[in-house]
Symmetry: C2
Subunit: 351 residues, 2 copies
């Protein structure tokens, strides 16, 4: 009964993980839609592209020649957004209190790496095998450990921009790893929410949330022994999902071999469903949130992945995060429950 | 000396208005760029388009015929994201504490209107005359007063999505007005920051900030007697600007006739500079933040406009807010100071 009402009238939902609100306007889906529907297939392309900066054996802009790598390959970005060797920033004018209050600036040390998933230029996560993707999960864990051990680094952000629609200029399967001195705002907010929850209820926010979702079984898309993918109750993007580990762990290095294999399995199954949704190589930003690597204990932190895919109605029609979203708050039309229903109905092999 | 360093090395800047951080990576602008440069001109189009839902005399999807309006014209969206007549949402299961903690939902009352700026289909803000745009400013103020007076409405968000790149399906010059029961997260955050500042320092955050910017004269793009447009010290979008009123006012209805004319003047001059930047009809989201209409006094609130334009390098190349931005924090390459310098150098007539 609740869902029937939620499916018909504007309401707002709370995101307890980032302590923010979302506006849901399900009645807007009744608007007439004249847009196209798309039946383009993901095309199998060349295994090696001589013009790709990431293919084995090719020369990058920097002049470096990529090794003839066989599975994963990582290197420091040739034009990194962050550096470990920066000049210090001179302290601002201390006498001028308004400027020091309102124009705060700090140095940010860090590094930015690129991690190729596989030598095959035309693959995507969804077309990889579980053993191959397991090696990528291992690399994610190792990069977290190595970068996190550096004294200047307190947070390791692993993310993948997939598809031209998501600003990815290179189709070769890869992700980026930006590691920073300060914990960025998003994981900082999530950490704070998880810590408050732990203090108040004595349990983990995401352990509690996952238990509830598995019980209700309404927003769960797919699962295996170690992980579940759900459309969160507070999803902002039309087909946003959250991958949660079934046991409490704060970082990727803590995951067992079995859990890493299961994560690879779930990532492949979920991205295959995504490809099948609009019959396209599905664009998205995805990435992992884990505990800071600041040396402190972070019992509150529950490791997870976010998928933020922009598509709304077809392979071309995306949700624009503009206007009210930028100036007011996020807004969505289809409910998270109906998005989950559509994703659940799709096959886990490419059709 | 400070600026020279800031122009070369990664740093982070604080946004005191929304209490968040931004990563600046100016050294990335040294990356090679093979992309196109654009010389397309804004094209003057038809004054009336028979297929446009917003032109005078045309029939909308809903069957309503637009009046033969001569300047501004507003109506309730035919498929509004918000409604004033919603069914109540049944209270959730009170016995289930985890669901009620983690799956919070509330009704959201409100309304969504469309406001046409002018009957001429092919205009944009930048091509309007000051007297015509003054009538739009009056309409913004009147809508704020009327909607704000409704007991269900506590916030009035006026915004314009301009250009297909910003999800605007209708080129006809218009804006939207979404008025809500709850203050949306963004203005709520800004209100909180302004209130804290007022309590701590006894002055207005944005009055202090504007005084500082006018003194430094480094990020000011243009100004007149009543308003100034600056690239804020914490700008996220490449050519983001903030329009601030020179005297303290919380809402548009408080603005005098002279201030309204000056706002129209500044909007036209700023958007003309934007058009000239990449020789195109410049896309953006813009909108106004004003005090809530909840009946309380809001001395802390300083009325302002935000322009969030997506273009980065040409009329086609935009900044993608993906990956690190979605999962970590906003990031920019060119510094706000160099963006301001480029905007300042542009003429205020179309070239
Ligand atoms: O209301 P419109 O023009 O259909 O839609 C546009 O503006 C809305 C409010 O900013 C956004 O939610 C939509 O994503 C955007 O496409
Ligand atoms: O690093 P790339 O692939 O050049 O750039 C891409 O990812 C970055 C990190 O998410 C974003 O800041 C850029 O806007 C995006 O185009």
């Amino acid at each position: 009964a609740m869902n029937e009402v939620l499916n018909k009238r504007p309401h707002r939902r709370y995101n307890p993980l980032r302590k923010s609100w979302l506006l849901v306007s399900p009645q807007r889906t009744q608007r007439p839609w004249q847009g196209e529907t798309d039946t383009s297939k993901p095309v199998a392309g060349a295994v090696h592209d001589p013009n790709c900066y990431l293919c084995p054996g090719n020369t990058r802009t920097s002049g470096v020649v990529n090794p003839d790598y066989k599975n994963v390959y990582s290197f420091t970005n040739d034009f990194p957004a962050l550096r470990l060797d920066g000049d210090p920033i001179p302290a601002g004018p201390v006498t001028d209190s308004i400027a020091s209050r309102l124009m705060k600036v700090e140095p940010e040390a860090g590094t930015a790496k690129v991690l190729c998933f596989h030598p095959n230029h035309s693959l995507s996560l969804s077309y990889m095998t579980v053993p191959d993707l397991k090696l990528v999960v291992d690399a994610w864990a190792d990069e977290t450990t190595e970068l996190g051990a550096m004294p200047e680094i307190n947070y390791v952000q692993i993310f993948e921009n997939r598809g031209a629609m998501m600003g990815s200029s290179l189709p070769h399967p890869h992700c980026q790893i930006w590691a920073t001195e300060h914990v960025p705002d998003e994981p900082a907010l999530e950490g704070e929410a998880q810590l408050e929850y732990l203090k108040e209820y004595g349990t983990c926010l995401l352990c509690d949330y996952l238990a509830e979702e598995l019980k209700l079984d309404e927003r769960v898309v797919c699962q295996n022994d170690s992980f579940a993918a759900v459309v969160p109750f507070w999803a902002v993007w039309p087909f946003e999902t959250l991958i949660l580990s079934k046991t409490h762990a704060g970082t990727m290095p803590e995951l067992s071999d079995k859990q890493r294999t299961d994560l690879a399995d779930l990532l492949i199954r979920l991205t295959t469903r995504y490809d099948n949704l609009f019959n396209t190589s599905f664009p998205y930003t995805m990435g992992f949130h884990q505990a800071p690597t600041d040396g402190a204990k972070h019992d509150e932190w529950h490791f997870h992945a976010h998928f933020y895919p922009p598509l709304l109605r077809s392979a071309q029609i995306k949700k624009f995060m503009v206007g009210f979203e930028l100036l007011g708050m996020p807004q969505r039309d289809i409910t998270p429950e109906s998005a989950a229903e559509r994703l659940r109905a799709l096959p886990e092999v490419h059709v």
